[in-house]
């Protein structure tokens, strides 16, 4: 029965759903992941707006209207998927040492995501990011994205006292 339905040219909706939770036999590439995510988001009616940003290293941008229009970026490279969003600028932080300390303490209790520091155009940017295997099923990737959004806003709220906005 299952075999017969797997032989169909188009997978039935229930099978498609199972597929979303199954580990991948092939690693994701960014464009392939974009197509799969778009289908998944449309089917599950998730509050996410997706766009593929072209370039030599293409990325997927995800807008989350329910998280204050938070923009999350997703890119596949080699063995891992990198999901990230900027937390704040280093220049906005009052006391970098205390802030770093607070971030390091938040890190272990943040499920599925981490806080890190990156340089961008000569400026330090604190990032909240998560890493996944490029063979992760779509459902895990979506979970990572929404978890990252929640964590980011929570971290921003928790670290607000250290930040001096321009």
């Amino acid at each position: 029965m299952l075999e017969m339905s797997l032989r169909e040219p188009v997978l039935s909706p229930s099978l498609l759903q199972i597929k979303d939770y199954a580990a991948m036999t092939q690693p994701w590439t960014t464009p392939a992941l974009f197509d799969a995510l778009e289908t998944h988001v449309a089917r599950e009616r998730l509050p996410m707006k997706l766009a593929l940003e072209p370039g030599s290293e293409p990325t997927i941008s995800i807008h989350l209207p329910e998280h204050g229009d938070l923009a999350i970026h997703l890119a596949a490279s080699g063995q891992q998927l990198f999901v990230s969003t900027p937390l704040c600028f280093g220049s906005e932080v009052n006391d970098r040492a205390k802030f770093n300390d607070a971030c390091l303490r938040l890190n272990p209790i943040n499920p599925l995501s981490n806080i890190g520091l990156q340089s961008f155009d000569g400026e330090d940017v604190y990032m909240v990011f998560g890493e996944l295997s490029t063979r992760s099923p779509i459902a895990n990737i979506v979970e990572e994205i929404s978890m990252l959004a929640d964590n980011t806003l929570q971290a921003a709220q928790a670290l607000q006292s250290f930040i001096q906005r321009a």
């Binding site: 940003e53 370039g55 030599s56 290293e57 990325t59 941008s61 998280h67 204050g68 229009d69 938070l70 923009a71 970026h73 890119a75 490279s77 080699g78 063995q79 891992q80 990198f82 990230s84 969003t85 900027p86 937390l87 704040c88 600028f89 280093g90 906005e92 990156q118 340089s119 961008f120 000569g122 330090d124 940017v125 909240v128 980011t152 806003l153 971290a155 921003a156 709220q157 607000q160 930040i163 906005r165």
Partner: protein, 257 residues
Amino acid sequence: MSILEKILTLFRGAATEAGQSIVDKNAVRILDQEIRDAQNESVRAKDELARLMAQQKIAADKLAAKDAKKAEYEGHIQRLLASGDQNLARDVATKVAQLESEVGEEQKSSTSLAAAIEKMHGAIKTADRRIAGLQQQVDQVKVNESVLRSQAAISARYSGQNAKLSTALDSLDRIKTRQVEQSARIDAAEQLAKSEGDGDLEARLSKAGLLTGGSVSADDVLARYQTVKVTQNAPAQLAAPDTSAAPAAANAAAKNA
């Protein structure tokens, strides 16, 4: 210096000295160069390995030839001794002794050659693994960079040309603004509902005791039942309009029951 140390140094430099931001921009190029160096090293090591393996092959061939020669001479010695040619047998035996020491020598060098080859194999494997690791780190640096770049491009697209990278704090602000807006909207809607549907006027009228339709108290309900019972038994009391008559009517009803 390991690659991670190098990355840390590069970025630390960029963070502390304004003039060093050029290093930051060149970081990826420096890392790429590092990979190319490691690759060249690996290629050189592979050439060296090929040379050693060729050497080992030649040595092995020579060894085999000498072994064959020795076996041949040993056969001769036996035949010469059988035929009683002692002198020639001695000469051949001298040759065999020389060959034997040569074979021993060559076997020793062949063993050390094999060990060198084994070591070289290991070194190449390590180098190749290191290159793969480096490549992954460089890819990651590039992807992180491009992720930030498109993030900045999107911020600019959403909020004007010169907008900075939009951060979580902006989102937090937006959520707060939205919450304020929403509660303001709810207040406004309530106000509107009040003024539109005569709500305000009705409220004022009912406050003045002119409207009874709005709220119903327990007393009202009780009174309603009591009047109904009274009505059944004493229709004459129906005319009693004020509620103060109700307790009396209730008493009457209780007595009747």
